[in-house]
């Protein structure tokens, strides 16, 4: 998915929601600064690939554990 498409879909949903917005507001932590920093790094293709490799190994371990099989 392109970043442009992502932003277009996100903003369309935001516009639809604003029409029904309620005044009752409570606080929420949102996304932490430290998490934002690590997600920002993924804009670098090398960092993205590194994360994909690490996480796919982790997924593989859980998959094996649950399904008792090797892929």
């Amino acid at each position: 998915m392109t970043k442009t498409k992502f932003k277009e879909i996100f903003e369309n949903s935001r516009k639809l929601a604003q029409e029904n917005k309620k005044a009752n507001i409570i606080s929420n932590n949102g996304t932490s600064e430290s998490v934002l920093k690590s997600l920002k790094l993924l804009s670098d293709p090398e960092e993205m690939q590194k994360a994909v490799n690490e996480l796919s190994n982790d997924m593989y371990e859980t998959f094996k554990e649950v399904h008792k099989v090797d892929i």
Binding site: M1, K3, K5, F6, K7, I9, F10, N12, S13, R14, L16, A17, N20, K21, K22, A23, N24, I25, I26, S27, N28, N29, G30, T31, S32, S34, V35, L36, K37, S38, L39, K40, L42, S43, M48, A51, V52, E54, L55, S56, D58, M59, Y60, E61, T62, F63, E65, V66, I71
Partner: protein, 153 residues
């Protein structure tokens, strides 16, 4: 709500899309561009509906919400449904997002395995399932514990 974290949210969503394209998992699940767009539509609409219904305004869009619900709807819309999508979603939530909170907390493999199994019951044995909101609030609770813990130190 700030616009400026959309780049980071996009990276989180793309990480999930890329994980599903790895040679180990590609054969298990078929996710077309249209499926991704449909899932993102559903996830963002649910995100704003959730915030509106419960009166929530956050400092920034919550990546736990977006990713949990994107992963859930991706599974629901996938041409070839496979719970590998849930595995990828939880791996990112746990090891890329929760781990990068200030206290570096992570859920253990037993809890992840239990959550995965509960997710796979959604739509089949609902009384045993956790669902999309359960997935989100489980990780959100862990984030909150992490934030509170860091304030005590």
């Amino acid at each position: 709500m700030s616009n400026d974290i959309l780049d980071e949210l996009y990276n989180a969503v793309e990480l999930l899309n890329n994980l599903l394209e790895t040679p180990q998992f590609k054969s298990f699940v078929a996710v077309s561009e249209q499926t991704k767009e449909d899932a993102l539509n559903k996830a963002t609409q649910h995100l704003f509906l959730h915030n509106d219904t419960f009166g929530i305004e956050a400092k920034s869009t919550d990546v736990y919400k977006l990713l949990s619900w994107y992963g859930y709807f991706l599974y629901q819309h996938a041409d070839d449904r496979n719970a590998v999508i849930y595995l990828a979603t939880m791996a990112i939530l746990n090891k890329k997002i929760l781990k990068n909170e200030v206290c570096g907390l992570m859920l253990d493999k037993y809890t992840i395995t239990e959550m995965y199994q509960m997710l796979t019951k959604d739509g089949e044995d609902d009384h045993l399932a956790i669902g999309k909101n359960g997935l989100y609030i489980a990780f959100k609770s862990a984030q909150n514990i992490c934030i509170l813990k860091s304030k005590l130190v």
